[in-house]
């Protein structure tokens, strides 16, 4: 087994990122520069993962969450010849949002509920699994999974595979034997908690968070000892500073985030106990700064009139020390969130030339429709530009860091507010974007949806949904419900965009061969030219693709691309849950807008692996 990734040298990372991004800017003028950028990018990745650049060791590929593969065998010239190498059916007809991991000669995957884990020997492609591990989660947990019974993948570290079960256990499996090493219970389905996110292992600590923002749970991120499963710390997203691990290290950039126990005082009395702020997205880590970054989800009860205040620390981002869990800074994307705009979307750590100097930034495409660049050392907002149609706000004030909500689009109790853009699933939901150091661009799978919303009464009954809105989505301007967009973060504008009939609900993958990959809900898995957006290859997988594509080098030295096919998730539950689309509010708003999906795809659950013949 390979060891964990070595932390990259900070200098190498910064300088190579700078030259890569700078070259990307100059690439139009200087043809030769492109090659140097690629070389520099490769050098930086080698530093990040010296012995394992053919592996895909964590769901986001690296700690920066770039989803960029250094492998260059597949190119814009030959990708048209891509063929299926082998497949594996999970036998589970639910949403497959996961990513397989590839470490050495083994591919690992975790299925949606009932969360079975498999290991495959890549020296025998298409052969039977080396082992199968069944955690046997409680069937009742399906009743507290807001958005289909998905699982977003495992993590790997020093001979163990870690993943979360829907019924709130983190389990560790010995990768040599497939036997359970430990399991730790972290939540309670009777409080509406579930777990769906992919853990991240940092310095021997397994970082995991909960789901259940639609059930009035209290969100948290926890660190478990990778060897024993012992709980080392847990940082809540609401409540007293002591629970939120906010102490002497905490120095938020903006004034509104300073003060004692804001996790209590920015709520109506006691409401923080049902305050949400769950942690179900991807975690990233900067080894040089020794900071982990993650987003917090929507505040508990969607109806915003029931929770006056800024509702800290929901719909924002924390930077924390992995050793102690102590918060270092926080920024709130959507103070007093009005629309279920979880702040959990992935934070991709890159260094970019901004204002004449290299800045250590993180890129984040939020549900609220803005593409943010934050200084990842301080939490300062450097830019926030809309990447999809937005009418629910008037931008972000760069002085105060505040989102400026549009008065006329605020949800009101007993009144239907129409055509609010973006809708609850946001301009982009969980679907993780990729970053290519070759182009310096982000590749964003996203939505183009607006909504009609009516706030209603809500009852808090533990273990049942706590929402308090009637909502129905419709296609945004242009009529397409999704898009795949290449985004230049420095210029703050799209470079190209491919329209999709349905929301682009899969992850994105960028590779060194100048390619980007993603799948759509109709089942097409596609390869595009990263510079132009021209579709160079596509394959019909039989069921909608909402998984995270990955790329690896097999034991035979060839480059492979792997992705789950299996429609579902929140957007696809119309199909995976056999919903009745005559009700526009089915699946909390997806009924009418997805009424044609059942005619375009059907349930599935298959891992596809592609390679050149």
């Amino acid at each position: 087994m390979h060891e964990a990734l070595q932390p990259p040298s900070r200098n190498v990372l910064s300088s190579s990122f700078f030259s890569a991004a700078a070259c990307a800017l100059l690439a139009l003028a200087l043809a030769g520069c492109r090659e140097r950028a690629a070389v520099a990018a490769r050098a930086s990745a080698d530093a990040a993962s010296p012995a394992s650049d053919g592996d895909w060791p964590m769901v986001g590929k690296d700690y920066q969450n770039r989803r960029f593969s250094e492998l260059g065998e597949l190119t814009t010239k030959n990708v048209a010849r891509l063929k299926v190498a082998w497949t594996f059916s999970t036998g589970i007809p639910k949403g497959h949002e996961g990513a397989p991991l590839i470490i050495g000669d083994t591919l690992y995957l975790v299925t949606p509920f009932p969360n079975r884990a498999y290991a495959f020997d890549l020296r025998n492609p298409g052969g039977p699994p080396k082992w199968i591990y069944e955690p046997q989660p409680s069937a009742a947990a399906q009743g507290v999974a807001c958005c289909d019974v998905v699982n977003r993948g495992p993590a790997f570290w020093q001979g163990k595979l870690f993943f979360n079960t829907l019924d709130d256990y983190t389990v560790a499996v010995d990768t040599a034997t497939g036997k359970e090493a430990w399991r730790t219970r972290l939540g309670d389905i009777n409080q509406g908690e579930s777990m769906t996110m992919a853990p991240l292992v940092v310095k021997g600590k397994v970082l995991v968070g909960n789901s259940g923002g639609e059930f009035g749970v209290r969100g948290w991120l926890a660190a478990l000892d990778a060897d024993s499963g012992k709980l080392l710390w847990r940082a809540y997203s609401t409540g007293p500073d002591a629970d939120c691990l906010i102490g002497a290290d905490f120095h938020p950039y903006y004034e509104q985030d300073r003060g004692r126990d804001l996790g209590i005082h920015s709520w109506p009395p006691e409401h923080w106990r049902q305050g949400g702020g769950t942690v179900w997205g991807f975690v990233s880590y900067d080894p040089a700064l020794d900071l982990v970054y993650y987003g917090t989800a929507n505040p508990g009860v969607w109806n915003p009139e029931l929770r006056p205040g800024e509702n800290k620390w929901t719909a924002g981002i924390f930077a924390r020390r992995p050793d102690s869990g102590q918060a270092v800074w926080f920024y709130q994307w959507s103070p007093h969130d009005l629309y279920d705009h979880d702040g959990i979307n992935e934070d991709v750590l890159v260094d970019l030339p901004i204002g004449g100097r290299t800045r250590q930034v993180l890129g984040h495409a939020d549900r609220n429709g803005y593409f943010y660049l934050l200084d990842r050392t301080t939490g300062q907002v450097l830019s926030a530009k809309p990447f999809a149609p937005v009418n629910s706000s008037h931008g972000v004030n760069l002085e105060t860091g505040r989102l400026i909500p549009a008065e006329e689009k605020m949800p009101r109790q007993g009144r239907v507010v129409r055509d609010v853009c973006p809708s609850a699933p946001g301009a982009k939901d969980w679907q993780p974007m990729a970053f290519s150091p070759q182009t310096g661009w982000f590749y964003i799978p996203h939505n183009n949806l607006c909504e009609d919303i009516e706030a209603t009464d809500a009852s808090y009954i533990a273990g049942t949904p706590y929402v308090g809105v009637n909502v129905r989505y419709h296609a945004g301007p242009g009529g397409n419900r999704g898009a795949f967009t290449a985004w230049d973060p420095v210029a703050g504008k799209p470079m190209w965009s491919v329209s999709e009939t349905f929301p682009a609900w899969s992850g994105a993958l960028a590779t060194a061969g100048g390619l980007v990959f993603y799948g759509n809900m109709e089942g097409w898995f596609k390869a595009l030219d990263a510079r132009t957006g021209v579709v160079l290859w596509k394959f019909q997988t039989g069921s909608g693709v909402i998984g995270q594509p990955v790329s690896y080098r097999g034991p035979d030295g060839k480059q492979y691309v792997a992705v789950f096919s299996g429609v579902g998730g929140w957007a696809g539950s119309v199909v995976s849950g056999d919903l009745d689309t005559r009700d526009a509010t089915a699946a909390n708003g997806w009924g009418a807008v997805m009424k044609d999906l059942p005619g375009r795809t059907s349930k599935g659950g298959t891992l596809y692996v592609f390679a050149l013949p």
Binding site: A139, A140, A141, Q142, G143, V144, A145, C146, E214, G414, V416, D452, E454, T456, D457, A458, S459, I461, G463, T464, P465, Y466, V467, N470, R472, S573, G577, D578, L579, D580, T581, R582, D583, A584, T585, A586, A587, N588, G591
Partner: protein, 181 residues
């Protein structure tokens, strides 16, 4: 004069069922369901088909007030959180013809009270018995099983689906020999 009497009598005849339509049981019995010998969860019966249900649970199947109350409670008890307004979400759709655990009033009554293994929570001890019966009547109206005469005709909130009273009966698939729901 005779004409007038005739008109009055026919008017009275028309009003009579309308009164019953919204009649209220102000003192519902403790045992609302009266499902003798327990609740049956199968449509396959050893030794023949049992008798029909009695009590409030049955009466509410033909009562507009019960169904409207059921509709209000369906949101108040967070049923909408999982089943939306009948289209489903976390839980299955309730306005279609598919029934995992049975469409008869006593089946739905049991589902609400006992819960079901794949995620339906048990509301035993949380919802008063007579309100469960009202919820049962409303749930059945969502797919037209109670007939449009009794079913709610409009929403108090955003109209997001066809009114229950306009639903043609979505006939559930029944095992041979099972009683009509």
């Amino acid at each position: 004069m005779r004409m007038h009497l005739l008109a009055l009598m026919s008017a009275a005849l028309m009003i009579a069922p309308a009164c019953k339509r919204e009649s209220r049981d102000l003192r519902p019995t403790q045992a609302v369901s009266k499902t003798e010998g327990g609740v049956v969860l199968s449509t396959l019966f050893a030794g023949g088909v049992p008798g029909a249900i009695t009590g409030t649970l049955k009466k509410d199947q033909e009562n507009a007030y019960a169904m409207n109350e059921g509709k209000r409670l369906f949101a108040a008890y967070n049923c909408t959180g999982c089943h939306a307004h009948g289209g489903g979400g976390i839980g299955p759709a309730l306005m279609d013809a598919k029934w995992i655990y049975g469409s008869a009033p006593e089946n739905i009554y049991a589902t609400i009270l006992e819960g079901r293994p794949n995620g339906m929570p048990s509301f035993r001890g949380k919802i008063p018995d007579f309100q469960v019966a009202q919820l049962v009547a409303y749930v059945r109206s969502m797919s037209g099983l109670t007939g449009g005469f009794w079913a709610p005709g409009r929403d108090d909130s955003m109209q997001v689906k066809p009114a229950e009273s306009t639903m043609t009966t979505q006939q559930p698939v029944r095992a041979q020999g099972a009683p009509a729901p």
